[in-house]
Symmetry: C2
Subunit: 215 residues, 2 copies
DNA sequence: GTCTATACGAGGATAGAC
DNA sequence: GTCTATCCTCGTATAGAC
């Protein structure tokens, strides 16, 4: 109970016997664990320890580890999915649309840096079998469409929209995925500080916009 | 024995009782397994099954799972490390140096598409604790130096070399990491076909060179 | 060097009290 | 809804024969 009270405090939750609060607690801890380890290597034990609730609550609310994983996956993607769908890019020029899209994307992941790690584990470990269901593919499709429009109007140079969409996503997301290796680079900056995240967004957008623009 | 003979044939190995051959067999299978699952989620059982040798041979040659992991990590990186060190970029213009570096990098990973997956399991799961030792940081340092030189001479636009190096690596490597998710995108192409790999290299280089060049 | 058989611990999942 | 205690499978690692 001491452990639970502490965990609750750090996450701004109060009641001691509240279904929703407990679920939220578990989901938050699970997101961290799955982000670092992926489905197979994640430990329900570790998740329970972080939340302060009993391990069995995971099974009570989510049936099994896989159920919890799918809940985390869906919850993590929904934010980004909502955001990109609400952008209303059709009336913008390709370049303006691209910049708006990238700003939204980078803002999302800056506020949820675990998301790229989760996506990555899902891609590599599970070959995207769960990702497939959670129709997050629409994010990529949005980007491809912007690029297609830009090459058609001549605003962008001749490029392959599909390949370029992948490479652009890489430019934005790699920072978060490679963090664990990057941080050993001899330079004292905290990669998740507000200043560094802001700088990363600006640098990524600048690189991409310059990279696609017609010369 | 039937299983072993088969595995040996597919990897062009012959003798039935040969220390080096067995080690190579295990290393090859382990690389695949670790690439997909990372250290913790990898199964020694699965590695043994792929090779056709008994599970206990892993422990005979590599002491334990972690020992095998480190051997795989070192072996996987050495190729890329060798290549980048031999490039002799100092006498080239920043732009030429960058193109040569990128070509070498993309060529390496195209021939060993598992490498980026291994690097990033290492980054995410293990926070780069093994990567750190295997002085592979020199690859990134090479790229940072090219960018520093380019901004100093005015060949490149004003950009942060450290941030840009990360983003550039992302442009090149994300394709391989995100493959599991990307392949579900509704388009019939095999991402690892020679044609697609070649196209990816060209698109990535084009995007990056255009992205850093002074306008 | 290679195999088979097995010990042993870790971790997913459940039972049942409160 | 939540906890404690427990079951049992899976997976690492070793022993020992060939």
């Amino acid at each position: 109970m001491a452990r639970r009270a502490k965990a609750e405090k750090s996450l701004n939750v109060k009641q001691v016997r509240d279904a929703e609060a407990t679920q939220a607690l578990i989901l938050a801890a699970a997101q961290e664990e799955f982000a670092q380890h992926g489905l197979t290597a994640a430990r329900t034990e570790a998740i329970a320890a972080k939340t302060g609730v009993a391990k069995s609550m995971i099974y009570y609310y989510f049936k099994d580890k896989e159920g919890l994983y799918q809940a985390v996956l869906e919850r993590s993607h929904s934010n980004l999915l909502q955001t990109t769908l609400q952008l209303d890019l059709a009336h913008l020029s390709p370049e303006a649309a691209l910049e708006k899209f990238l700003t939204a994307l980078l803002n999302c992941v800056s506020h949820n840096p675990k998301l790229p790690m989760i996506m990555f584990h899902e891609a590599v470990q599970n070959q995207g079998q769960y990702y497939k269901r959670s129709s997050s593919l629409s994010i990529d499709r949005t980007l491809v469409e912007i690029l297609e429009r830009g090459t058609a109007t001549g605003a962008f140079r001749q490029l392959d929209p599909f390949q370029s969409a992948i490479n652009i996503m890489g430019t934005c997301l790699f920072y978060f995925i490679g963090m664990g290796n990057i941080k050993h680079y001899p330079q004292g900056k905290r990669l998740l500080s507000k200043a560094m995240l802001e700088q990363h967004s600006q640098e990524a957008i600048a690189l991409i916009l310059a990279g696609v623009r017609k010369v």
